[in-house]
């Protein structure tokens, strides 16, 4: 078992401590914030960010980036809403699956361009970001899908509560659990770490690096598709500019959560904690008496701080030749 002191040194543990301190500070100004009920609300509010951050983590692990997640979300959300408005008799679980499937397809497009054609992921997703959102415009003709056009079942699903938590929150929990399993206990998941950590070695070990990257983009797309439904249903409206700029929040959550932009380092727990950090701040600001207009700059400052801490930690420990004498590890001894 990992020794307790190494556990404490892990990024995730530090993040947990920082988060607890943050909650403590907030509690001083607004004790009502840290009630279980309110914390559950914060969790639910952050659910979509958590799910997307998990997908993005898979991509960043492989030394890639997916800037198109928000546009993917907008397109699938719009498609799902339009479908529901036109055919309210279709069962909602089917719509959810369809959304996720469509998102998967869009992610696969990204994945194929990166894998088969070998384009840099930042360029690919920069392009698909505008293409997907443009497609949402073309699909909807620029029109909105309003609340009254959506079927009651469509709107109700994320809001239904089970054991005190809405389904939206439970979905996030499910995604967290499944992702944690995949990332740590499946060959495909470990392959993400291998490919991002040492791409050359991955080839030698017989791991198909290109396929691993493709799978990462598919996962990111799938989760974006799922969130497409969740977002539109939760806010009860679908329009072209849904989640505009949200992809940067998602990447920020990953960065704060200790996912390294150079690949091979990061975890589901980290992504979740990073997303929660942002969620707590967003929800706490009005309660603490800070104008929400300052939220963006505070997030920015936190991102910078997180990057500084992560970079310090990642810096390879230089060979410390002189100290070897103290440890008693002599070559000739």
């Amino acid at each position: 078992m990992t020794a307790p002191h190494t556990l404490l040194k892990s990024r995730e543990a530090l993040l947990l401590i920082a988060g607890t301190v943050l909650l403590g500070l907030i509690a001083l100004r607004a004790p009502d914030f840290v009630t279980p009920g309110n914390l559950a609300t914060v969790f639910t509010d952050s659910a979509i960010l958590i799910i997307l951050a998990i997908g993005q983590t898979a991509v960043i692990l492989t030394r890639s980036i997916d800037l198109s997640v928000a546009a993917n979300l907008a397109l699938t959300g719009m498609a799902g809403a339009m479908l529901n408005a036109a055919h309210p008799e279709l069962p909602v679980p089917l719509l959810v699956l369809a959304s996720a499937g469509m998102g998967l397809g869009l992610g696969a497009v990204n994945g194929l361009l990166v894998w088969r054609i070998g384009l840099p992921s930042i360029v690919v997703t920069l392009g698909t970001l505008t293409i997907f959102r443009g497609a949402a415009f073309v699909l909807s003709g620029g029109e909105w899908v309003n609340t009254f056009q959506m079927s009651p079942a469509y709107l109700a699903l994320p809001r239904e509560t089970l054991l005190g938590l809405p389904v939206l929150a439970w979905l996030a929990v499910a995604v967290i659990g499944l992702a944690a399993l995949v990332f740590t206990r499946t060959a495909a998941g470990r392959a993400l770490y291998a490919v991002g950590g040492n791409p050359v070695a991955a080839v030698y070990a017989g791991i198909d690096a290109g396929r691993a990257v493709f799978r990462a983009f598919c996962l990111s797309g799938l989760l974006a598709g799922l969130c497409g439904y969740l977002w539109v249903s939760r806010f009860a409206v679908a329009y072209v500019d849904v989640a505009a700029g949200f992809e940067l929040d998602v990447i920020a959550a990953c960065v704060i959560g200790g996912v390294s932009i150079s690949g091979g380092v990061g975890s589901v727990a980290g992504a979740v904690l990073g997303a929660l950090f942002l969620g707590v701040i967003k929800n706490a600001l009005p309660v603490v008496g800070v104008s929400p207009f300052w939220q963006m700059s505070i997030s920015g400052a936190i991102i910078i701080a997180a990057v500084i801490l992560n970079t310090r930690a990642e810096r390879a420990k230089g060979r410390i030749i002189l100290r070897r004498l103290d440890v008693g590890q002599e070559a000739g001894a």
Binding site: I65, L67, L113, I117, G118, L119, P120, I122, V123, V124, L126, G127, T128, L129, T130, I131, R133, G134, A135, F137, V138, G142, V240, A244, G245, L248, I251, A252, V255, I261, S262, S291, F293, W294, Q295, M296, S297, I298, S299, G300, A301, I303, I304, V307, I308, T311, R315
Partner: protein, 352 residues
């Protein structure tokens, strides 16, 4: 002090008494310069421009009008000026996604300065200084703290635009002093706007800097191989710092022009511009990994994007459709050389 005898001592051991081998003469260049030019990325962009020009001229009678074309330049010169500076940053192997945030913050500060009743030169100076300061912050984070520029500038992007939101909230600055509108709406001569003139001048400067100076050579070397560059005595960190500073200044200048053109400031100004500007640079043939790229390429890419949006605008194509076309064009243009290379390899292999 002469170092070596002309006996080419590094050659294989020919034996002590053999005569010295003839001095080998290596030509300076292999390909004729014109041939390399023809095969280049810039040629592709030029062809694209001609195609767009022709298509647009045929599609709309309003296209080939010098005043309309001059108007067209307004929608891309501000971005193009930032793209010129950002090209250097990307050539050096880094990136700056915070440029639009810098524009927003700079604009907000200018608005506040104007609201305080200060005259045009001070307002404009405030915008430039704000841009410079933001660039310095980016530069410090990347060179002194050695943070990866992509995540550092994602952070500063939120920070800068966030400060604009914090200072301005959901309000707007709409009062600007007389004369301020010259930057974004004034003309230097007939149809030549101040903006476009500034862009041309800066493009010439940038091109000269990159292609004909030691500084430009240094930037390229750093982008290709920062370790070898450092080992060769090049001041990698200092150069990168200057590049981020220059990008901040360019964003400040773009902000002066944009604010002057719009006549007002909101914190949401220039939203989404960072991605368009990066697209302009990458479309211009600058490799995202650094080292490869030219200024003429970036200028041509700016023209491509500008003419395309103008032409489509004349046909009443909505902005968002245009962005689809730009996105598709970006992917197609980057994929083209890779696909042609793979195709030619496959053809070569199947040949007997």
């Amino acid at each position: 002090m002469t170092m070596l005898t002309p006996n080419a001592p590094f050659a294989a051991d020919h034996g002590r008494d053999a005569p010295p081998p003839p001095v080998r003469v290596i030509p300076d260049r292999a390909d004729a310069p014109f041939a390399t030019l023809l095969k280049s990325w810039e040629a592709l962009l030029l062809a694209l421009i001609l195609a767009i020009f022709t298509a647009n001229s045929l599609a709309s009678p309003y296209f080939l009008d010098v005043w309309n074309l001059s108007d067209a330049t307004f929608n891309f010169t501000e971005k193009a000026i930032v793209a010129l500076a950002l090209a250097f940053v990307i050539l050096a192997g880094e990136i700056d996604i915070s440029v639009a945030g810098i524009i927003a913050l700079s604009s907000t500060i200018m608005g506040a300065t104007a609201a305080a009743g200060l005259p045009t030169p001070v307002v404009a100076a405030a915008g430039l200084v704000a841009g410079l300061a933001c660039g310095a912050v980016n530069g410090l984070l990347v060179t002194t703290l050695e943070l990866p520029s992509i995540v550092a500038t994602i952070g500063t992007m939120s920070l800068f635009r966030g400060l604009a939101y914090g200072l301005l909230g959901d309000g707007a600055y709409t009062r600007y002093p007389d004369g301020f509108s010259y930057f974004g709406q004034g003309y230097v001569w007939e149809w030549l706007s101040f903006e476009f003139a500034a862009f041309l001048a800066l493009a010439l400067l940038a091109g000269f800097l990159l292609h004909h100076t030691a500084f430009g050579r240094t930037v390229r070397a750093i982008g290709h191989n920062p370790t070898a560059a450092a080992f060769s005595g090049l001041r990698v960190r200092r150069v990168k710092f200057w590049l981020f500073l220059a990008t901040g200044l360019a964003a400040g200048l773009a902000s002066v022009m944009l604010t002057s053109r719009l006549g007002s400031t909101r914190p949401s100004i220039a939203t989404g511009w960072e991605l368009e500007i990066v697209t302009m640079v990458v479309l211009g043939g600058v490799s995202i990994t650094g080292g490869v790229g030219t200024i003429p390429g970036v200028v041509l890419a700016a023209l491509v994007m500008g003419l395309l949006t103008f032409g489509l605008g004349l046909l009443n194509v909505s902005g968002i459709i245009m962005s689809i076309i730009v996105g598709a064009m970006l992917i197609a243009v980057i994929a083209l050389p890779i696909l042609t290379r793979k195709l030619s390899l496959r053809l070569r292999r199947s040949a007997p």
